[in-house]
C-alpha cells in the first residue's frame, strides 16, 4: 500500500488564471510529503488534480510509474481529507467512516470490523453512534481521517486538516497523523500554509509559490540553505543585506562581510542571516562586527525580538531574555554576524 507518486509538469489553467504552472515533484512511498505555500499558491488545486476532482490542463500524474489521468476519482484510492471535515450530516460517525467501504460493496461483517478498527485508531470508538453535529471540530476531523484511512488508500491527501483546529488540538492532531503514519506506513501528501505543520509532521517538504515549485528537501534545508530571498523570508529569515560577492567576501553597506558557507551565489547577492544567529555585544575581535542601534524590542515569550538599524540596513535579532536588559531601546550595541551563519543568495 505504499505508492510512489510522480507529478510531471502539471499545469492547470482556468481561463486567464493559472493556479498551477509546470509543477513537477516526486512523492516518495511511505513518507509524509508536505506541500507548503501561502494561501492562493495553488496547493489545493494540485491536490484536487491528484485526487481526480480536477483534470489537469497538461502534464501527467503517475502512481508507481503508471499514468492515472484517465482513472476516475472514485477509482484512484486517493481520498482527500478537507480542512472542514465535510462529514455527511445525515450519517452517524461510524456510517461516515464506513461510507467508502459501502461504495465498494464490502460485506457488512468486514465493513463493521474495519470501521471499528479505524475508530479505535483515532480514539473515537465510544462516539461511533454520534451524528456529526454532536461532535466537536477536532472529533469531526478525526472521523474524517478515519473515513479516508478505512479504504486502505494508496495515497492519503490532506488539505489543511489542521487549519480549523485550536492550537492544542492542532498538536494532538499532528501527533495522531504521525502515529497513523507509523502504524500504517502510508504515502501522505499534506497541504499546509503553516510551516510548523510541515516541520513537525513531514519527512519531505515542497515549497510552492504562484503554482510553481520553489524548493524541495528536508525541512532543515529551508532554514540553512534557502534557495531564494522569498524562501528565506517565508521561513522567518527577514535579514537581507545587499552586496557584491567575490570569493569569501561580500562588500555591503555594513562594510566587508566574511562568508564561509558554500552557497554558490556570486556577484550581486543578498546576504541573509536568521534572527537567532545575530549576536549582540560579543567578545572583542570577532569578524563581521559593527555598531548598531536598538530601535524596538518586543517580548516573544522565549526570546526578545529586536529591531536594529545600522546605517541604511535594518536587522532583526532574537536575543535571549536575560541578555536583553542591557540593550535598551535607543542604546548602541555591537552587532556580530558570524561568517558561518551568513548565506548569500542571488539577488533577483
Amino acid at each position: 500500500m505504499t505508492t510512489r507518486v510522480d507529478l510531471v509538469r502539471l499545469t492547470k489553467h482556468f481561463g486567464a488564471v493559472h493556479p498551477v504552472e509546470d509543477f513537477s515533484l516526486t512523492i516518495q512511498p511511505g513518507l509524509v510529503t508536505a506541500l507548503l505555500g501561502p494561501s492562493g499558491s495553488g496547493k489545493t488545486t494540485l491536490l484536487k488534480m491528484i485526487a481526480g476532482v480536477l483534470r489537469p490542463t497538461s502534464g501527467d500524474i503517475r502512481f508507481d510509474g503508471e499514468s492515472i489521468l484517465d482513472l476516475p476519482a472514485s477509482q484512484r484510492d486517493a481520498p482527500m481529507v478537507f480542512h472542514n471535515a465535510l462529514l455527511f450530516p445525515q450519517l452517524t460517525a461510524e456510517d461516515n467512516v464506513g461510507f467508502g467501504l459501502r461504495m465498494r460493496k464490502t460485506p457488512p461483517a468486514e465493513r463493521s470490523r474495519r470501521v471499528t478498527e479505524m475508530l479505535e485508531l483515532v480514539g473515537l470508538q465510544d462516539l461511533r453512534t454520534r451524528r456529526p453535529e454532536q461532535l466537536s471540530g477536532g472529533q469531526q476531523q478525526r472521523v474524517a481521517l478515519a473515513r479516508a484511512l478505512v479504504v486502505s488508500p494508496r495515497l492519503l491527501l490532506l488539505d489543511e486538516p489542521l487549519a480549523n483546529l485550536d492550537p492544542d488540538l492542532r498538536g494532538e492532531m499532528r501527533e495522531l497523523l504521525l502515529a497513523v503514519q507509523r502504524s500504517l506506513g502510508l504515502t501522505m501528501l499534506l497541504v499546509t500554509h503553516d510551516q510548523e505543520d510541515a516541520i513537525v509532521v513531514a519527512d519531505h517538504v515542497a515549497l510552492i509559490r504562484n503554482g510553481s515549485l520553489v524548493q524541495e528537501g528536508v525541512v532543515r534545508d529551508f532554514f540553512k540553505r534557502p534557495a531564494s530571498a522569498w524562501v528565506a523570508t517565508f521561513f522567518g529569515a527577514n535579514n537581507l543585506i545587499p552586496g557584491e560577492r567575490t570569493n569569501n567576501e561580500v562588500v555591503t553597506p555594513l562594510g566587508r562581510l566574511r562568508v564561509t558557507s558554500e552557497s554558490p551565489a556570486t556577484g550581486q547577492v543578498l546576504v541573509t542571516i536568521r534572527p537567532e544567529a545575530v549576536v549582540l555585544d560579543a567578545a572583542e575581535g570577532q569578524a563581521n562586527t559593527f555598531e548598531g542601534k536598538v530601535i524596538a524590542a518586543e517580548f516573544r515569550g522565549s526570546h526578545i525580538r529586536m529591531q536594529l538599524t545600522a546605517g541604511t540596513i535594518d536587522l532583526e535579532a532574537n536575543v535571549p531574555i536575560d541578555d536583553a536588559k542591557s540593550h535598551a531601546v535607543g542604546s548602541t550595541v555591537r552587532v556580530t554576524l558570524p561568517p558561518e551563519k551568513l548565506w548569500p543568495l542571488p539577488a533577483d
Partner: protein, 291 residues
C-alpha cells in the same frame, strides 16, 4: 433531550449542515413568531368557512347570518360520477404532477449553475428566468396560442403542461438557486474520492442536501399549475378541463352551493400538500431569504 439540543447548538451553528458556514441562525419559536403563525393559518383557513356553509345551504340569501335550511344537494351533484368533477380532478392532478416533475428536472441543473457559479451575464439570465412571471398570463397565452395551434399542441395535455411550465419552472429554478447558493460542492468531491460513482454521489450526497429545497420547489410548481386558469383555457381549448376551468364555468352558472363545494374540492389537495411540505418550507425559506 433539551441538554443534547443545547450542546448541538454550540457545536453546529448552521441550521443545515450541508451549508457553507457563516450564515446566522434565525430566531424561531419566539412568542411573536407563534402569533404570526396562528394569524397566517387563520388567513388561509377562514375564507373557507363561508364556502363550507354555502356548500351545505339551501336558499341562503342576504340578511341571514346562517342558512335557514341545510342540504347535501350540492355535494351530491359535485361528487356525482358523471358530474365532471372527477374528470377535472384527474386532469388537474395529471397536469400539475407532470409540471412539477418537469420543473424539478429543469430546476435542479439550472438552479445549480445559478447558485454555484458566477459568470458574465448571470444577473441578466436571472432576470430572464423571472420575465414570464412579470408578463400577464393573458398576453403570454394569446401570443403562444397561434404557435401552439401550428405545432399541434393546442387542446392537448402536453400543450397545457408546456404552457404551465413557463410559469412553474421559474419558481423551481429560483428556489433551487437559493438552495445551491448555500451548498458546498466539496461534499461531492469528498464522496467521489472515497469511491462513490456519480449516481451514488447524487443519491447519498446531493439528494439529502437539497431535499428540503426540492420539496419547496415542487410545491410551488404544483400550486402554480394547480391554480392556473387563463393559460389552461386558452391553450387547452376547452378540451383539457381542469378544476379551475370547471370552477369558473360553475361559478358563472350562479349556484353558490355547487361553487362552494367545488372550491373545497379544489382547495383540499393543496392544503393537504401544504401540511406535508410546511416543515420544509420553513427550512428552505431560511436558505433562500438569507442571501
Amino acid at each position: 433531550m433539551t441538554a443534547t439540543k443545547e450542546t448541538n447548538r454550540v457545536t453546529s451553528p448552521s441550521p443545515s449542515p450541508f451549508r457553507k458556514p457563516s450564515r446566522p441562525r434565525r430566531l424561531r419559536g419566539t412568542g411573536g413568531g407563534r402569533i404570526a403563525a396562528v394569524l397566517i393559518v387563520a388567513i388561509i383557513l377562514l375564507p373557507l368557512v363561508p364556502l363550507v356553509i354555502n356548500s351545505f345551504a339551501r336558499g341562503y340569501v342576504f340578511p341571514q347570518l346562517f342558512p335557514a335550511e341545510w342540504s347535501i344537494r350540492a355535494w351530491r351533484i359535485v361528487l356525482a360520477t358523471d358530474g365532471g368533477t372527477w374528470e377535472a380532478l384527474g386532469w388537474s392532478v395529471g397536469v400539475a404532477a407532470t409540471v412539477t416533475a418537469l420543473s424539478l428536472v429543469v430546476g435542479v441543473p439550472a438552479g445549480r449553475v445559478l447558485g454555484l457559479r458566477s459568470f458574465r451575464g448571470k444577473r441578466a439570465l436571472e432576470f430572464l428566468v423571472l420575465t414570464p412571471l412579470l408578463v400577464p398570463a393573458v398576453a403570454v397565452a394569446i401570443g403562444l396560442d397561434i404557435t401552439f395551434i401550428r405545432l399541434g399542441l393546442s387542446g392537448t395535455f402536453w400543450g397545457v403542461v408546456l404552457v404551465h411550465l413557463i410559469l412553474a419552472a421559474p419558481y423551481a429554478v429560483l428556489v433551487l438557486a437559493g438552495v445551491f447558493a448555500n451548498y458546498d460542492p466539496d461534499f461531492e468531491a469528498q464522496a467521489t474520492t472515497l469511491g462513490a460513482s456519480p449516481l451514488n454521489v447524487f443519491r447519498h450526497v446531493t439528494m439529502p442536501a437539497i431535499k428540503p429545497g426540492l420539496i419547496v420547489a415542487g410545491f410551488f410548481a404544483f400550486i402554480v399549475s394547480w391554480s392556473q386558469y387563463v393559460l389552461t383555457l386558452q391553450i387547452g381549448g376547452g378540451k383539457i378541463l381542469t378544476l379551475p376551468v370547471l370552477l369558473v364555468s360553475t361559478a358563472n352558472g350562479g349556484d353558490a352551493s355547487i361553487t362552494g363545494a367545488l372550491t373545497i374540492v379544489s382547495a383540499l389537495p393543496v392544503l393537504a400538500l401544504l401540511a406535508v411540505a410546511s416543515r420544509h418550507v420553513v427550512r428552505a425559506g431560511l436558505g433562500t431569504t438569507g442571501t
